[in-house]
């Protein structure tokens, strides 16, 4: 492909695209930095009752205090860590289960493939949150680990379905036929040809699922099924702020903003990744 002169429209589009990617990177990077910081330092003891009841935001307490007088900013910082751990953990589990099952289905005999595909479709028909709630209920005690596991399993169906379709598409390509003719074993085909080719699309999906997992964890915690207190999940902070939303609306605003910024950050990052990684899109229009 030789490009002699890049048209003006194309150039602005690429700039905008990289802007999207940069904003996403900054937002997610910020959360990551805060999460790492909380491992060594927080402004206050997260469970310590440092201030008065429901103090409005001030220099001492930038996000105000909760009913027990705990600093909300400290809790929101720790919330970043919990959100990232849950998001990364859930996506890792979903990737491990989903990609394996997806590849398996694509390579399987027709009946097994049909059965697996139908299973994925049925699981996807259930909202992620509902599936996750079922898994938490089945594991008994709500904990950070059970939340990660539940979300990972719930999301894996989405990943498996996508992987199966992508692998099938790649398998129909001429170079696969060539590799098969050349006598390559199927593991070698998967690792040499299939996975590298579907990776760009999968990684975009992982970033999107990451954002979804963060919201789902907040919802689980909001319902009391996520990480138990005193883990400062944003969902739990929102749930606790709900009871005082008239007298202290700031208690709901700050965790809400934190949640929105991370999810938007992840989505922008996914958008940017898609544009960079997908040559067909780059040429399109």
């Amino acid at each position: 492909m030789t490009v002699l002169a890049e048209p003006q429209a194309e150039r602005t589009r690429r700039t905008r695209r990289s802007l999207t990617f940069s904003i996403g990177l900054i937002l997610v990077g910020l959360h990551l930095a805060v999460a790492l910081l909380t491992l060594v330092w927080t402004p206050y003891d997260p469970t310590g009752m440092a201030g008065g009841r429901l103090e409005a935001p001030s220099w001492a307490h930038p996000a105000g205090t909760d009913r027990l007088g705990r600093d909300l900013f400290t809790q929101i910082m720790i919330g970043s860590r919990i959100a990232l751990v849950v998001g990364a953990g859930a996506v890792a589990i979903a990737a491990a289960i989903g990609v394996t099952l997806g590849v398996l289905a694509a390579f399987a005999t027709r009946y097994l493939d049909d059965a697996l595909a139908a299973t994925f479709d049925i699981l996807i028909a259930f909202p992620t949150l509902l599936l996750a709630m079922l898994v938490v209920a089945a594991t008994g005690n709500a904990s950070l680990l059970s939340a990660i596991l539940a979300l990972g399993i719930a999301i894996s169906a989405i990943v498996a379905r996508l992987t199966r379709i992508l692998v099938k598409r790649v398998l129909a390509m001429d170079y696969i036929t060539a590799a098969r003719t050349a006598g390559s074993s199927w593991p070698s085909i998967v690792f040499r040809h299939v996975l590298p080719n579907i990776w760009p699309t999968l990684s975009v999906n992982f970033a999107l699922q990451f954002g979804l997992a963060v919201i789902a964890e907040a919802s689980l915690s909001y319902l009391g099924l996520g990480a138990p207190p005193p883990n400062a999940s944003w969902g739990r902070l929102l749930q606790e702020a709900q009871g005082t939303v008239y007298t202290a609306p700031f208690g709901a605003v700050a965790p809400g903003l934190a949640l929105v910024s991370l999810v938007i950050g992840m989505n922008l990052l996914a958008d940017g990744l898609r544009d960079i990684g997908d040559p067909t899109r780059r040429r399109a229009r």
């Binding site: 310590g48 009841r53 709500a142 207190p229 005193p230 739990r236």
Partner: protein, 504 residues
């Protein structure tokens, strides 16, 4: 006597004056600023009854609307916790305490025009105690062995064993006409109001009953307006669509009324207790020193103000001030972390211990759990919080007793009896208390009953049988133009007949 704080706003006088001025332009009728005997009082509530019969699973809402208003009992539980005769003019207990003879008020008629007779009373009591009655109270009437009606105005109730609480238990037995056919969607009572209309999903309106045997209501009627959601109920009061809210459940929503001179916020005393219940059967909670240490390690005053701001009451035991056997026991185990540590050391837990606190997932339990966790950490006790649903609480804790400690709100009036039942979920078993509570019911006099239960109350406090964190407030908010309403809401009742509204 009930202690009560009325938060009248500083601007009340100004508001009243302003209303007087405004009223000059209003409709004529009663004198401006004076009680208008024809005014209809509009009451806002969240508890719409399922039907109109309290023996048919109608819910607490029917007691709120009908107890004392539409139906009366032989006795009535007043707002201050006292039990007074109502349709029973006189009553007499035999020396062995097994026979009660009631003489009925004369000239009482039902809303249908039928006169009240002893047969109606017999029918009404048997209705509550009957097999298909869904009344939550029917078990407490199980000592009744027979009811006789020697004449029109005399009822003789015979018991299988003494039951000093019989008059109290009769306060929730509505006296209904034995000829009434449909009590789930209509009524036939003897109260000062009769049912005017029930619009399902919306309201119940009551109007004065002309032939009422007692004093006529101070108002022209009442309408209970039902809301499904607290915010819309609050908005209805703010916009003047209702005059009064029977019970405000969240301190947060009070903020909009507190500093507004057009409203009065009144705090009464509820019977709802926030309890940190230990499983007294298991180590280390079987050790009284450990329980006392925990009681002393928690700053309950700070907890209460965190949850409710300036509202609510501290309690030193399970008995609220509206129970006849209330004693102020808050100084038995006052907040004192140092002595808590000492007690733990004496109990052999100098290095503390770890336990799991089963916490219902709804407000205020999770926040209370975190407070307890943080307070107990200071004396070396590690608390793991496990959040559970109300359903799980019932099966795992209430039924299976599979827990170390839990949080729960206990709403009932006169429920100290739970400590006399060693099989109750918290497993408190002190033979002395079991004996006192069992024998209190068969006391020969109320004084004896009160004496025994006060003693039981003191013992459970000394034993720190559970952690009694605080008593919820019962908050009624009204427009500044109405007065004369009950504030304690005992057994969900809301007597409307003394409420007046100033003309404006």
């Amino acid at each position: 006597m009930t202690r009560m704080r009325t938060r009248k706003n500083h601007g009340l006088l100004i508001a009243a004056t302003a209303m007087l001025v405004l009223a000059a332009f209003g409709r004529a009728g009663a004198q401006e600023g004076e009680a208008d005997a024809a005014a209809v009082i509009r009451i806002g509530s969240l508890y719409e009854p399922q039907n109109l019969d309290n023996t048919a699973g109608a819910g607490q809402g029917i007691n709120e609307a009908f107890n004392g208003n539409v139906y009366e009992g032989l006795f009535q539980l007043e707002d201050n916790g006292e039990v007074v005769p109502k349709l029973a003019l006189e009553h007499e207990m035999s020396d062995d305490g097994l026979t009660y003879t009631f003489t009925l008020q004369p000239d009482v008629t039902f809303h249908s025009g039928d006169p009240l007779t002893s047969a109606d009373v017999k029918y009404s009591i048997e209705r509550v105690a009957s097999e298909n009655s869904k009344s939550s109270r029917k078990k407490s009437l199980s000592t009744i062995s027979s009811i006789e009606t020697p004449d029109e105005r005399t009822v003789v109730v015979r018991l299988s064993e003494r039951s000093i609480s019989l008059p109290y238990n009769l306060t929730y037995v509505w006296i209904v006409n034995d000829e009434a056919t449909d009590l789930t969607s209509s009524e036939d009572g003897t109260g000062p109001y009769r049912l005017d209309a029930w619009r399902r999903g919306s309201s119940i309106s009551l109007v004065s009953f002309e032939d009422y045997w007692g004093d006529a209501p101070a108002n022209g009627g009442v309408t209970f307006n039902y809301f499904t959601e607290a915010t819309s109920l609050n908005n209805a009061l703010l916009t003047g669509a209702v005059d009064i809210i029977t019970s405000v459940q969240s301190p947060d929503s009070l903020a909009q009324f507190q500093d507004n001179p057009a409203f009065i916020v009144t705090e009464g005393q509820s019977t709802t207790k926030e309890v940190l219940a230990y499983n007294d059967r298991v180590e280390p909670f079987s050790n009284v020193k450990v329980r006392k240490a925990i009681a002393r390690a928690i700053d309950k005053e700070r907890l209460l103000s965190s949850i409710w701001g300036d509202y609510g009451t501290l309690i030193g035991s399970f008995v609220p001030p509206t129970d006849p056997w209330y004693v102020d026991l808050t100084d038995v185990d006052p907040y004192d972390p140092e002595s808590a540590k000492q007690l733990l050391a004496e109990a052999g837990y100098a290095d503390g211990f770890t336990f799991t606190l089963e916490t219902p997932n709804y407000d205020p339990h999770p926040i209370v759990a975190q407070f307890v966790q943080s307070e107990l950490a200071k004396v070396g006790i590690t608390v793991n919080i496990n959040i559970i649903t109300a359903n799980e609480w019932y099966t795992k804790i209430y039924q299976a007793h599979d827990f170390q400690a839990t949080l729960q709100e206990h709403v009932n009036h006169r429920d100290i009896v739970f400590y006399g039942n060693p099989d109750f979920y918290w497993g408190y078993n002190n033979p002395e208390v079991v004996e006192l509570i069992a024998s209190s019911e068969t006391s020969a006099s109320e004084a004896e009953q009160v004496e025994k239960l006060k003693e039981a109350n003191r013992i459970i406090a000394e034993d720190a049988a559970s952690g009694w964190l605080y008593l919820y407030p019962q908050i009624v908010v009204s427009s500044a133009t109405v007065s004369g309403y009950p504030v304690n809401g005992l057994n969900s009742q809301f007597f409307a007949y003394d409420i007046t509204k100033r003309a404006q």
